[in-house]
Amino acid sequence: MISPLRIWVIASNTVREAIRSKLLYALLFFAILLIGTGVLVSALSYVERERIFQDVGLAAIRLFSVGIAIFLGVGLIHGEVDRRTIYTILSKPISRSEFLVGKYVGLVLTTWLQLAIMSVAFAAVSFATGAPIDLAHAAAIGLTGIEVMVIVAVATLFSAFTTPLLSSLFSVGIYMLGHLTRDLRQLGAQGDVEGFGTFTVVIHRVLPNLESFNLSLHAAHGLPISAAEIWLPVAYGIGYAAALLCVAAYVFERRDFR
């Protein structure tokens, strides 16, 4: 029986760990600094000042959210095994899967908390500079939150069986390919190199299609966003993350802790 209570005990403690670590405040500080830099950059331009600032700002938010997710995610499980904090935890009535899911939920909440803080900073700067803010910005940031769910799940999966170094290589690789899969597939379909086309199809099917979470163009240009452009990626992201967690739990349940 999966117990939400035990998952919550692990998750809330994971958030508490983040809140007590000074490193994260430093990262947040830089993120907010970068959002502010958008104002400076836009000041150099005579046209579309607000748009440039918001482009830079949204990009900074996406970059830092994903960066923090990978940075913390790759050590999420490995650190517990390596420092042997997991021994006493698993001696209590909690299953390995519950522990893994708890750590995952905790890190997602942590990154969401950071995303919220950065969004407030973004809104404040927008407001101060008179740049317009609308629902498209909220939708773009919301989907970044979903993208982060997928990225944390990727990092958690690797963290469940390999070292942080390898995990970060794999996670960054998947993040980059995940943003390119659509383009790659088109490239593969056009080209006539034997095998490459099949390869790009497989990549496209297996890797997460992260571009579907990217609404920054809509936000910057004030393009209309349909309901499907929000709900489909949300459902896709949740489903993809859940599938990754199942694989991670399967691997993790079978490990020896030596």
């Binding site: 029986m1 508490r16 042997r84 006493t88 001696s91």
Partner: protein, 316 residues
């Protein structure tokens, strides 16, 4: 089910193979371990460094999987989860989230173990008192010494009032007072009807605490049984201290009892078989010597331990 409610730990033919490094070559760490621990017992699992004690305990805690064989605790396969509400565990050199305070970490483990919220604060305070950490309760674990972490480890193992406790070298890192306190704590658990499984190589602790022991050497159990059975029989000896013993008699004793004389001035100390004590005393008193003391000396676990290790070396 062979479990009649008295068998708390039951291990049958447990083998553990590992593949160190990347090669395919296997290394066998546990060679078919079988042992039984009964309800209310303090069980000592002793053996030299690298014998496989910690590995066996990890199998029992479900942290590693046995390559073959079967292990149950309280009638449950060690791979299950829910029954661990009744199980406490202190790992070797325990390590905890060091950003939490002593009180916070105990609350964390209590919540994981399903301790009710209403009972929580009182239980945490009790355990902090038992391990003498009440004063440091609100300091971060980062600032704790090794012995203080060991105490937190013991407290978290007992936080949910488990039926059976597994301790991997509970005295490690503790000062003499701390060791005495933990010994008392273990005896308190026994009085409360709990079962204790203890890994150690401190033999005096085993002699003081354990009802039964198993001696593990190089992954095989060499002895298993009640301590009295080991320490019993013909091998029981006594230390006799005499003074004013004439020199000729002293050397005669030396020949006769094969015991070495340890003189301090005019005092002479001999170790003789218990059944020979009466004869020795009679002869000594007749020769005008004085008897200072007669102390029962039990053949120590240490000598059994040494013998087990030696016989293992010979047979390999």
């Amino acid at each position: 089910m062979p479990d009649d409610g008295r068998e708390v730990v039951r291990v049958r033919g447990v083998v553990k193979d590992v593949r160190p490094g990347l090669g395919l070559r296997r290394k066998r760490i546990l060679h078919g371990i079988s042992l039984t621990v009964h309800r209310g017992e303090i069980f000592g699992f002793v053996g030299p460094n690298g014998a496989g004690k910690t590995t066996m305990l990890k199998v029992l805690m479900g942290l590693i999987r046995a390559s073959s064989g079967r292990a149950t605790v309280l009638g449950h396969d060690v791979g299950e989860t829910e029954f661990r509400r009744q199980v406490g565990f202190l790992p070797e050199n325990p390590y905890f989230y060091d950003y939490l305070t002593g009180r916070e970490i105990l609350r964390f483990y209590a919540r994981l173990s399903g301790v009710r919220a209403a009972a929580m604060d009182k239980r945490v305070a009790t355990l902090l008192d038992w391990v003498q950490l009440s004063d440091a309760a609100d300091a971060r674990l980062r600032t704790y010494s090794k012995g203080m972490l060991q105490r937190i480890g013991i407290a978290q193992a007992l936080i949910h009032d488990p039926e059976v406790v597994f301790l991997d070298e509970p005295m490690s890192g503790l000062d003499p007072i701390g060791r005495k306190q933990i010994r008392d704590l273990i005896l308190r658990l026994k009085r409360a009807g709990k079962t204790v499984f203890m890994n150690t190589h401190i033999l005096s602790d085993v002699e003081m605490l354990c009802d039964r022991v198993a001696i593990l050497v190089a992954g095989r159990i060499r002895f298993q049984g009640r301590l009295e059975d080991f320490l019993d029989g013909d091998e029981r000896e006594s230390d006799v201290v005499l003074s004013g013993l004439p020199a000729d008699l002293a050397s005669r004793f030396e020949e006769r009892y094969g015991a070495e004389l340890r003189g301090h001035g005019t005092r002479v100390e001999l170790r003789v078989k218990e059944k020979e004590v009466a004869d020795l005393l009679r002869a000594a008193l007749e020769a005008g010597a004085e008897v200072q003391s007669v102390t029962a000396y039990r053949i120590s676990l240490e000598s059994i331990f040494m013998r087990a290790v030696e016989s293992a070396e010979e047979s390999s």
